[in-house]
């Protein structure tokens, strides 16, 4: 093993023998709390928008106003302007938040659950079962993840459901791998040893000790992927798979605005900003949670 792993244990109050005080750790703690606060605020705001979409939206998101096509930001009646078909941008952005949130949360939740089970059973046993599951993941998912998702989405055909399925498939191997890594650390912990010594059966240990303790770090890891899922899920819709018109989707909207980029850049720009904001929210939240909860993270 790396000798560099044998770092001195940081102490709360620096003493003569140790140069490494509590200082850097304290600061990083502060930073992760800040990150969590900012990230959570952004994500909650988007969730609120998604829930209140019917009330926020001045119009039906698919309602076409042929006379008011390509209105700029601030046009009376259309706060954020209209797109090429004269649909209200604000309404479409508000409704679009629903699909983006679904893309961020649903595949990760399902893949996380599957990964949690596969990973904990695989890694708890160690040895052969661990190798089998982990190598199996490597073998089947030797494909680059983005391409796999696009290939699956192309094969299954367009639609929100198929998009969610393809993203879930892609997420299973990383979620399994992370769970296995966390469990590999947990199974060596003294409380697990103690449970084993007191005669608990493996299944009991997995359900009472391993699973509950892996949930937090795995959740943190999942959150840190949610931002990329928002970006990537919208990307699949952007290239014409995934969400189909006329349903409002941020990725689709960017594509819709491409033709009028030189005339009315806001049609592409606004949904892009929406994606950046939501993804950044998830990334802040995920980074903070990982610093706090993930035993594999040391810095």
């Amino acid at each position: 093993m790396d000798r560099t792993d044998n770092e001195p244990i940081p102490v709360a109050a620096p003493t003569g023998g140790s140069q490494e005080g509590g200082w850097p750790r304290v600061l990083s703690g502060v930073r992760s709390h800040q990150g969590i606060a900012v990230g959570a605020a952004i994500v909650m705001a988007v969730v609120l928008v998604a829930l209140l979409a019917p009330f926020i939206s001045p119009y039906d998101p698919n309602e076409i106003h042929p006379i008011d096509r390509l209105k700029g930001i601030g046009t009376p009646g259309y706060l954020l302007g209209t797109d090429i078909q004269g649909r209200d941008m604000l309404s479409r952005l508000a409704w679009g938040s629903r699909t983006s949130l679904a893309i961020a949360v649903v595949p990760l939740a399902i893949a996380g659950l599957i990964g949690l089970l596969l990973g904990s059973f695989g890694a708890y046993g160690g040895g052969v079962s661990e190798t089998l599951i982990m190598r199996g993941m490597d073998v089947v998912f030797g494909l680059p993840p983005i391409l796999l998702a696009i290939a699956v989405a192309a094969t299954l055909g367009p639609g929100l459901f198929n998009l969610l399925v393809s993203l879930t498939i892609v997420l299973i191997p990383p979620m399994t791998r992370v769970t296995a890594q966390v469990v590999a650390i947990l199974r060596e912990q003294t409380f697990v040893e103690a449970a084993r010594a007191s005669g608990a059966r493996d299944l009991q240990i997995i359900f009472h000790h391993i699973l509950p303790n892996s949930v937090a770090p795995v959740l943190a890891y999942a959150t840190s992927l949610a931002g990329s899922m928002v970006v990537f899920g919208a990307g699949i819709s952007f290239i014409g798979l995934g969400i189909q018109p006329p349903r409002a989707d941020w990725g689709r909207m960017i594509n819709d605005g491409r033709e009028v980029l030189d005339l009315m850049p806001h049609v592409s720009t606004l949904p892009g900003i929406a994606i950046v904001v939501l993804a950044a929210g998830f990334n802040f939240l995920g980074d903070g949670l990982r610093d706090l909860l993930d035993p594999r993270m040391k810095v």
Binding site: V139, L147, F238
Partner: protein, 317 residues
């Protein structure tokens, strides 16, 4: 080392078999009956059945798989429906074009990513550090397909500095300088996300190393801060950085670059995948996916080997 290499090469076989099986499954799941394509919907059931038997479509799936695999191994990757040309040579041609873009993006990502990561680590917790971290989070959250549009709007449409897309100008110059000019924007846009990830990894790896005792010993030897950071701390962080960089470049060639190629009409693998998706050209798309997978797997192998070569601690095990 040789043992490791042998093991790793041996392990390629199941990985590639598995990956090809996934691709084959996708072909099977793809909508549309190949018989319809060959005979039209109105052929008689008997004729259809005869053709099915002829092409072995009634055989069990695994027989069909190995037959398909045999064709693949012989270089028969099918024919593109849209372009009516064999898939494999087409894919090879596109591959090099994508590699060119990946090279540019990778270079940008490594220089900017490692640079920013090292600076952030050296100035840990300072304003610079926080700024770099902030920029990296936003770079990670930025869809390349959107940033590409913003860049085109800014630098091509508004300022007129750079071409909007493609690989060469339509008229006039055929120089490499022309290609280079076309490469700048897509290279930067494609390299931004990997740069952000590399920066974070480099920062973490540097900090991890800079906490260690031997840093004090180096300074006690009288080394300058520059030598301590660049010759020792960075050298120690290198295996981790190389590992992540390799992975990122893998993702880049075979995924992230896809969106960038679409936006900038860069005629590589990604753009081709996009066209085959739009045109429902399944043989072409799956050929592209299979080829990309092989490249991905080989690249991962290369990174693993490189990691060992530059990390004496692992090498000795």
């Amino acid at each position: 080392m040789l043992r490791f290499l042998a093991w790793r090469l041996l392990f390629l076989i199941p990985v590639l078999l598995g990956a090809s099986a996934v691709v084959f499954t996708l072909i099977q799941l793809a909508p549309g009956d190949p018989i319809d394509v060959l005979m039209g919907v109105f052929a008689s059931p008997e004729a259809r059945e005869a053709l099915r038997a002829k092409y072995g479509l009634n055989d069990p799936a695994y027989v069909q798989y190995f037959r398909w695999l045999w064709h693949i191994l012989q270089g028969d990757w099918g024919v593109s429906i849209q372009q009516r040309r064999p898939v494999l040579p087409l894919v090879m041609e596109k591959f090099w074009i994508t590699m060119l873009l990946t090279g540019a993006a990778g270079l940008f990502a490594i220089v900017v990513g490692v640079g920013a990561g090292v600076i952030a680590a050296v100035k840990q917790n300072s304003l610079t550090d926080r700024l770099i971290l902030l920029v990296s989070v936003f770079s990670l959250s930025m869809p390349a397909y959107w940033l590409g549009l913003v860049f085109i709007f800014l630098f091509s449409v508004t300022l007129g500095w750079l071409p909007t897309g493609g690989m060469r100008s339509f008229m006039g110059e055929k120089s490499n300088l022309d290609v280079l000019e076309h490469m700048i924007m897509p290279g930067v846009v494609a390299g931004l996300t990997p740069a952000a990830i590399i920066a974070r990894v480099a920062r973490a790896a540097m900090l991890e190393g800079m906490r260690l005792d031997y840093m004090t010993a180096l300074r006690a030897k009288g080394l300058s801060e520059r030598a301590v950071i660049l010759r020792h701390a960075l050298r120690n962080a290198l295996p981790t950085i190389v590992n992540m960089t390799g992975l990122q470049i893998g993702y880049l060639i075979l995924g992230a670059a896809l969106f960038v190629e679409i936006i900038f009409s860069w005629p590589g693998l990604g753009y081709e995948i996009y066209k085959s998706v739009i045109g429902r050209d399944m043989p072409m798309m799956l050929g592209l996916v299979l080829f990309s997978t092989i490249v991905f797997v080989l690249l991962n192998l290369l990174v693993d080997v490189l990691y060992r070569v530059i990390n004496p601690r692992v090498r000795a095990d």
